[in-house]
Subunit: 332 residues, 2 copies
């Protein structure tokens, strides 16, 4: 039996990273290690990962590329699920990966389908990382998953779903509510990643995983059907969303270092991309050259939005970013 | 018989544009028109195009996108072979193309294979145009051709090739001379374009055409073999080229608006990309996702470097940029 690929995962304690960790461990065909900062070594979440038999490699990402290359030695596949705020720190890491001879890098993506430049701030930063990878001629795969089920359903009047809802605007319908969006269950992200990274067909390609393509009107109807409740919807027109976005853009550009203004701006950009531009759809993914993971892995059955919702009504959903109070809805 | 696609060509009097014009007319299956500036209408080169039965559309590219959209009305395919200095003016044109409902745009590319960002100035600007196209979800094809035969051969001591040589560094070998490069005859650019733009397989794809993949040592050996002369080669090491490039970068960044310093910098970047990085190769094109036009059109026989050279020794070659004195070697 050939030796199992050695994988290093960065960001394993985050929402996406946790799903990837689960997916890779479940696949039972990888030697998995995680990369953590010195300041994180003693964290409970990191200890919990070690308890599952996963080894740590420890470094600060601000280290030089030569130092980072030593940290990466012996790794076959590097997977990054780094925080949305640290995207650009991946550039040095990719140069280190080149020195270390990594066979495939998977830079942080795992979001909605969107154009490479000029629509979403964090997407623009990711593109810089992708371009660094291409400049280095590093073998890569970029994986998107659309928007999570876990951030795509509204509160109901009885309050039964409040325990699981993160975002303040959960009952808002942007535009006419008829724009389709690619959706995935957060737990399936790791399932897709574990299949995609070990597949020659996905080398140097963009791939997206998904379970459903639904409009807000459709997701709200499923919630109403399963709950027997009528959702009190708020409507925000495309023009209103655009005006709010422009105000957030101005605020951000006045205070580019203010993380709150940056996050506000980014969230509104995401809403605009999803609901007005309509970027997060299979047709646009195909236009941009993405492979469809459902076509690559026809045997895999992702968790549908309806099944996720049924679990949520049974009290089994988990609010993302449990450490945060309700409010933000940055998917990472 | 279905009506022939209506094509609008921008830059038809340039080196690349002329080849494309020839290729499209020869294909005899397109309704061809050319886009010219008001100031160019009376030029001899434009009149010569009209004499071949090609209609003009006249506009300044600084017009608004709505005005440009009117100029583009009724066009199926927009092909740009704009000057290297005006790349970014294509952004407004692409927005106009979206309004006008153009079926396919072919933005200016026609160069060497190179990474999207950070290696070649004009390539970076082209990427901005490509990203504008993707933001607009405009159907597109990007066509590269490697470096021209016409700029890829050295002077010989007898002076027999001087009439056709443009660049000052024609007898220089950069590095060890063993880096392979994709080459095309300038006359084949239009042949490739006329095939690629009418092919569903190339929609929303990057494609490269080529005739040979040769190192400088190989091209020099062909010249020596065909001439019976020994070329007096000058060698510039990779380190020397890198140092010269860094000086040119500094000069350019001190005088970003000086076109000479910009051209010097760009030419050195191109040499660095071709001979040190080794970007302009089929393996890197494949990595970047390019389709190979030789595989798409196996019946087409491009003009080989050797055949081009044999013509050159018969006095039948044409120096590119005849209006320039010898010196520059910007391929456009």
């Amino acid at each position: 039996m050939p030796s199992m690929p050695r994988i290093l995962l960065l960001g394993a304690t985050g929402e996406t990273g946790s799903s990837i960790l689960d997916g890779l461990l479940e696949a039972n065909k990888y030697n998995l290690e995680v990369l953590v900062r010195p300041s994180s070594v003693r964290k409970e979440a990191v200890k919990a990962i070690q308890d599952r038999g996963v080894k740590l490699r420890v470094t600060d990402l601000s280290a030089s590329e030569d130092e980072l290359a030593l940290v990466l030695s012996g790794i076959d596949i590097l997977i990054s699920a780094i925080s949305g705020y640290d995207q650009l720190s991946q550039k040095t890491l990719m140069r280190a990966a080149k020195i270390a001879g990594i066979r495939r890098v998977v830079p942080c993506a795992y979001g909605t389908i969107a154009p490479p430049q000029g629509v979403m701030l964090f997407r623009d930063e990711k593109e810089e990382v992708y371009n660094e990878i291409k400049r280095l001629a590093l073998p890569y795969t970029i994986i998107e998953v659309g928007f999570w089920h876990q951030l795509s359903f509204p509160r109901v009047s009885s309050g039964r779903l409040d325990y699981a809802v993160l975002q303040q605007d959960s009952t808002t319908i942007y535009g006419d509510g008829n724009m389709p969006n690619i959706l995935s269950d957060l737990r399936d992200v790791g399932q897709y990643v574990s299949r995609i990274i070990d597949d020659d067909r996905t080398l140097n390609k963009h791939v997206y995983g998904w379970s459903d393509v639904l409009t807000a009107n459709e997701t709200f109807a499923i919630v109403e059907e399963l709950s027997g409740e009528i959702i009190e919807k708020e409507y925000v027109s495309s023009q209103q969303l655009e005006a709010t976005l422009e105000r957030a853009r101005a605020e951000h550009s006045k205070n580019p270092k203010d993380p709150t203004k940056r996050l506000d701006f980014y969230i509104l950009q995401t809403m605009y991309s999803k609901y007005v531009r309509g970027d997060n759809q299979p047709s646009y993914a195909k236009y941009l050259g993405y492979l469809d993971a459902r076509q690559l892995y026809p045997d895999f059955k992702p968790i549908s939005f309806r099944d996720f919702l049924a679990e949520a009504f049974e009290g089994k959903a988990k609010r993302p970013y449990a450490q945060l109070t309700s409010g933000a809805s940055l998917q990472h």
